[in-house]
């Protein structure tokens, strides 16, 4: 009956990974609700960007303290996962520390993991202090109330618990402690158990081992509900990010066709529209399905660090706009649309949309299009492109620009300048 453990472990693993795969498919489906945009060009440059920005964390260190702590947690996370592989093999086959056949190299590995685990634990505690004690402003903007705040804390607690369990598991492993190599951290914790009986220590070791792997599986499944998805999506997000100059906005093709027709002197103004022609495309975006899939992936990738908002001139001066909130609201609406599809088989009109129900006109008109948010984002998210698409809908579909902007646009239309000056006076300056 020694197999019960192994079977339980296998079932746990299948359930844990199974749920994760199921939810991942939902995320992919939701992202694909976005409009098509071609980002298949320049694969080499894209790959290099991904290596540099996602793997190499090059934009994180722009804020050195947060950046270095983040690199420690990130490196720890990746490297300690080698240990998870051992746990899985041990769990499935009933072995104990199967990699220990590597001898001295194994001790070196585990020793490194222990030091990393300790550093991660320390970093995460510092993160918690920054958030809760120092109350760094960007973690306390108004969009960070409720779930976003709890989500951030949950992640920190998860990591604290997982790292502690890893160290505890090593500390209470009598055989491992007796070897007394590769235990630079856990040997001190082991001292605490010197008075305890062999059985007690053994039970603690088994419990820590099980809780560690269960914790990892829960954390894996927590990602779907959390801002922590960035640990996976940072990679495709940096790969597919915009490579053009930041000031270059897209030219809407649908508009180009119309403008060309308007400017064509041989066009027949009374011509009946082509019956086979597709209905005209909607200009701009009022809901998430009008955005492109890269913008939707951006929304899932955002980890709500708030660097964008801290750099936003509108937000700094107390305006309603927060680029982070733009991304969070886009994700909230996208998840709502996704749930609607889960429930009804296809999207049923729910009388809501991204514009107005989530993002208000006041927010998007406060933007100066300065690109500070785009520049700041450590994973190349582009909140500005969403703001502009929403503006396009407001202006071209609803004629709902602020009055002063309407005057500006009327002036451009009539005088060829945003002010009321006569086109014929354009060169007057040379004689003034």
């Amino acid at each position: 009956m020694n197999y019960i453990d192994n079977i339980a472990f296998a079932i746990l693993l299948i359930i844990g990974i199974g749920f994760f795969v199921k939810n991942s498919k939902k995320i992919v489906r939701n992202i694909k609700l976005g409009k098509n945009i071609d980002r298949s060009d320049l694969p080499k440059e894209r790959f290099n960007n991904m290596l540099k920005i996602a793997l190499g964390q090059s934009k994180m260190v722009k804020r050195p303290i947060a950046g270095i702590l983040h690199i420690i947690v990130y490196a720890g996370f990746i490297i300690i996962n080698i240990e998870v592989l051992e746990i899985i093999i041990d769990g499935l086959f009933g072995t104990h520390r199967v990699f220990s056949v590597l001898g001295g190299f194994y001790s070196f590995l585990i020793g490194t993991f222990e030091i990393l685990a300790f550093l991660v634990l320390a970093s995460v505690i510092i993160f918690w202090i920054r958030r809760m004690v120092l109350q760094i402003p960007r973690f306390w903007n108004k969009e960070m109330k409720g779930w976003p705040k709890n989500d951030a804390l949950n992640i920190l607690y998860f990591e604290m618990v997982l790292m502690s369990l890893f160290l505890l598991m090593n500390a209470t492993d009598n055989h491992f402690q007796n070897l007394n190599v590769g235990n630079p951290i856990s040997q001190y914790i082991a001292n605490l158990f010197q008075e305890s009986s062999f059985t007690t220590v053994n039970i603690i070791e088994r419990t820590a081992w099980w809780l560690h792997i269960v914790g990892i599986l829960i954390f894996l499944n927590y990602l779907y509900y959390s801002k922590h998805l960035h640990i996976l999506l940072a990679f495709p997000n940096t790969y597919f990010a915009n490579l053009k100059p930041k000031g270059q906005f897209t030219n809407l093709k649908a508009v180009t066709n119309e403008v060309k027709m308007m400017m064509d002197p041989s066009a027949d103004p009374y011509a009946a529209p082509d019956e086979n022609a597709a209905p005209p495309e909607k200009f701009g975006a009022s809901d998430v399905t009008d955005l492109n899939w890269v913008q939707l992936m951006n929304a899932y990738t955002c980890t709500e660090c708030g660097r964008c908002t801290a750099a936003c001139p509108a937000n700094i001066t107390g305006k309603e706009l927060s680029p982070r909130a733009i991304m969070m609201k886009t994700r909230d609406r996208l998840e709502e649309v996704g749930k609607n599809i889960d429930k009804n088989g296809k999207f049923m009109d729910d009388g809501k949309q991204l514009l107005n129900d989530y993002i208000t006109a006041e927010e998007i008109w406060a933007c100066t299009s300065c690109n500070a948010c785009v520049e700041e984002c450590p994973v190349n998210i582009d909140p500005l492109s969403i703001i502009i698409d929403l503006r396009r809908y407001l202006v071209m579909e609803q004629s709902a620009a602020p009055t002063e902007l309407n005057s500006m646009m009327t002036n451009i239309e009539n005088n060829g300048a945003p002010w009321q000056y006569n086109q014929m006076d354009r060169l007057n300056w040379k004689d003034e």
Binding site: P245, Q248, V255, L321, A372, V395, L405, A417, Y421, K430
Partner: protein
């Protein structure tokens, strides 16, 4: 002032080396016109064969595009492109980062492909070619801070040309806390120039001006007519008009030489 138009040059059978795109602010705004004239003085001094479009120039469509009016933008873009292509324009220089960005990045897809330079890049190339020499003159030793226009800096990664020109004036270049990629917007971009700001607790231009004043400058230099207006307003709001001047890089160079 010698300011030939493309029409005049073409009539004489001359193809100028570069088109100076003046822009709406440079043509109509009283403050920006001074920048335009300063730049023309330098062009004439350096014997650059240039021309302007004059009454054939129209708004590039930038503010319309940033406001979300793609129709108005593309109509203006295509009209301008027809004019530019008719004159077989190859190279454009402009003193407005908004015109610069639009002409450089957004016109090519609509059929307007030109080499487009911001005037600070162009001045730097004149310097490199030895067509102008910049000496300290009256700005020697002055404290000058440079405000990065968003559409020049972050939007197009031009940070060094304006700074190099300031250094050539033998002035002391002092950087603000937020500069280059971290530069704070003046508050005018994205068509904000033409409307009141949304409700908040401060004007962006005041925030930026305060940052500039922290460097205790004699002069705040910019390379954009809209930034110039915003910072000048900020200086007025802070009652610093008698202590600090707001000047375009082209003005600094022209004034240094007393052109």
């Amino acid at each position: 002032m010698n300011v030939p138009t493309m029409a005049e040059m073409t009539a004489q059978g001359i193809q100028p080396d570069v088109l100076f795109w003046v822009g709406c602010a440079g043509s109509f705004d009283d403050r920006a016109k001074k920048i335009t004239k300063a730049f023309v003085k330098i062009l004439n001094k350096a014997n650059v064969q240039f021309a302007v479009l004059g009454t054939e120039e129209g708004c590039t469509g930038d503010p319309a595009k940033r406001a979300g009016n793609e129709f108005l933008f593309q109509m203006h873009a295509m009209t301008n492109i027809e004019v530019l292509n008719a004159y077989e324009v190859k190279k454009i220089v402009t003193a407005c980062p908004h015109c610069f960005n639009t002409l450089k990045n957004e016109y090519p897809e609509l059929g307007g492909k030109y080499e487009v330079l911001h005037h600070t890049e162009f001045l730097k190339s004149l310097l490199d070619e030895g067509k102008i020499t910049i000496e300290g003159g009256k700005f020697k030793g002055k404290r000058i801070t440079f405000h990065d226009p968003c559409y020049l800096g972050r939007a197009n990664d031009v940070y060094e040309a304006p700074r190099l020109l300031i250094e050539k004036l033998e002035a002391e270049l002092v950087e603000m806390k937020r500069c280059k990629t971290n530069g704070l917007c003046c508050g005018a971009g994205g068509a904000q120039m033409f409307k009141d700001a949304e409700k908040g607790n401060k004007e962006i231009n005041v925030e930026r001006t305060e940052e500039a004043l922290e460097t205790k400058p004699n002069i705040i230099a910019t390379g954009c007519p809209f930034c110039n207006t915003m910072i000048t307003d900020g200086i007025k709001a802070k009652d610093q008009e008698s202590n600090v001047e707001v000047m375009d890089i082209a003005e600094l160079i022209a004034n240094a030489e007393d052109l």
